[in-house]
């Protein structure tokens, strides 16, 4: 689905990521971990073509990122559900319209039943008409997850999806991702919460990528 071949990235100064070679195979579940500022969000941005590698090659759905025009990137994003670290919404639109946004911008109709099913699935049915600024951190993150999956993407990239929520809610959010993975979606979750990773690894065959010294390695049993 997404393949990195000897990729390096820098924001202009020293390299933040170097010699990254890895693949996210269809149907796989990956965690990405590392200290704050190590480049987790940066790695995800490379995965959805918000950033282009400064060296090496990234292919998304078998197409070199460098060859993608602006419209190609837009179309690629319709196959990738993104849960952003800071969960940005359109504050003037009710939650339901925000969740349906990927369909709106793709100029597809939103099946009303699907939308309410999805809101119920993330436990937000009662907040369909609420405006985003009035939502709690956990509600925003569940809404972001609902928005990421409404267009039935092949890949879901989640950046700290449990950043603002308590332990119980974290587990609930992760179980939603596990459920999606069982439905065949490719999942990548960036988090620094190792306890969460250990708990989820008991439910799903997840692999853990760890950023250390600018390299991304597969973590072993030492986790």
């Amino acid at each position: 689905m997404i393949a990195f071949d000897n990729v390096a990235y820098s924001y202009g100064g020293a390299e933040l990521l170097s010699e990254v070679s890895l693949q996210l195979a269809p149907g796989s579940f990956h965690f990405l971990t590392g200290p704050s500022g190590s480049g987790k969000s940066t790695f995800l941005k490379l995965c959805y073509a918000e950033l282009r590698p400064t060296a090496g090659q990234i292919s998304i759905f078998d197409r070199d990122v460098r060859s993608l025009g602006r419209d190609d990137i837009a179309r690629t994003r319709r196959r990738i559900g993104i849960v952003h670290q800071d969960c940005q919404f359109l504050d003037h639109l009710p939650l339901a319209a925000n969740v349906a946004l990927p369909l709106t911008v793709a100029e597809r109709d939103t099946p009303v039943q699907d939308l309410s099913d999805l809101l119920a699935w993330v436990g937000l049915a009662h907040l369909a008409d609420a405006l985003p600024p009035s939502l709690s951190g956990g509600e925003r993150q569940r809404a972001a997850l609902a928005r990421a999956v409404i267009i039935a993407p092949d890949v879901i990239l989640a950046d700290e999806p449990t950043g603002n929520v308590d332990w119980e809610m974290s587990l609930r959010l992760l179980s939603l991702l596990v459920e999606l993975n069982r439905m065949g979606k490719t999942i990548l979750v960036a988090t620094h919460d190792l306890t969460l990773i250990r708990t989820v690894k008991q439910q799903v065959a997840a692999r853990v990528l760890r950023i250390r010294n600018r390299r991304i390695q597969l973590a072993g049993a030492d986790l």
Partner: protein, 289 residues
């Protein structure tokens, strides 16, 4: 639940929206006057150039007892002048009409030493003005050839310039409108940078995002210009009518089919808004990331 109109993805932008409408209205209002000026001076230029070619007047000032003799002499002379199609002495009645605007209707024409006027019409070839003047001086010392060309040519040129000025004004007004709409659109795009980022993130193409802005600005420009044009046309219609004011102002206004011309302004404003907003949007989107 879902959005019926794509443009709703961009929040309505409050006061800047009104500014676009208001600016378009003001610009259209001005454009109506510029257009009226161009049309009126066009008509004036045409009238003056037309009248130029074939008319002149000979004025005879002579003591009353010599008047008839000199008039006859001039008419005889003109009859044998090559290039003169016809010559005719004006009747007292006609002269009274000409002078009425200046001296009122009760002019005692017979008791005043009023010069006699002879109207001369040229043929296509035209006469030799200098030659005619010399012969008049010899035959009728009181006769003066008043060749209208002298004062009409500069007036016609001025009117022609005025027409160009009017048209240039219309173009400048549209250009100013394009500039202001570009600024307003860029401001709206900058204000909504966050919205645009979210839209890009969920897979919106530039064309989709641009459309939301373009639709808004086009509609604002269209409605604003429609209001401005309507007000401008009312104002032009309310100008003092031709006969009352006299002189140049008579012409300022629209005549007949000319009234249809300002109706072009609102669609034109919409086109200007469409093109400029679209350019601004695509430019800004590309530079955003």
């Amino acid at each position: 639940m879902a959005l019926r109109h794509a443009e709703r993805v961009v929040p309505p932008s409050g006061p800047s929206a009104w500014l676009t409408t208001l600016t378009s209205a003001a610009m259209a209002f001005l454009a109506v006057f510029a257009l009226a000026l161009a049309l009126a001076s066009g008509r004036l230029a045409d009238r003056w150039t037309e009248g130029l070619a074939n008319s002149a007047t000979i004025r005879i000032s002579a003591p009353a007892d010599q008047m008839d003799r000199q008039t006859q002499a001039v008419l005889d002379l003109l009859a044998t002048t090559p290039g003169v199609a016809s010559a005719r002495a004006m009747t007292d009645e006609e002269q009274r009409k000409l002078l009425e605007p200046w001296f009122g209707p009760d002019l005692p024409l017979d008791t005043l030493p009023i010069p006699r006027l002879i109207e001369v019409t040229q043929d296509a070839a035209g006469y030799d003005g200098e030659g005619l003047r010399l012969r008049l001086a010899a035959e009728a010392p009181g006769a003066i050839l008043d060749d209208h060309t002298r004062w009409r040519v500069p007036l016609a040129v001025a009117a022609g310039r005025l027409r160009i000025l009017g048209l240039v004004s219309v173009v400048l007004i549209l250009g100013t409108m394009a500039g202001m709409i570009t600024l307003a659109a860029n401001a709206a795009l900058a204000t909504n940078a966050q919205v645009i980022r979210v839209l890009r993130l969920v897979g919106a193409r530039d064309a989709f995002i641009a459309r939301a802005f373009v639709r808004r600005f086009t509609l604002r420009a269209l409605s604003g210009a429609a209001m401005g044009t309507a007000l401008g046309m009312l104002a032009v219609a309310a100008l003092p009518s031709a006969d009352a004011a006299g002189g140049f102002l008579t012409g300022l206004g629209f005549q007949g089919a000319g009234w249809l011309l300002p109706l072009v302004l609102p669609p034109l404003a919409a086109v200007v808004a469409f093109v400029t907003t679209r350019n601004a949007a695509f430019g800004k989107l590309r530079e955003m990331m």
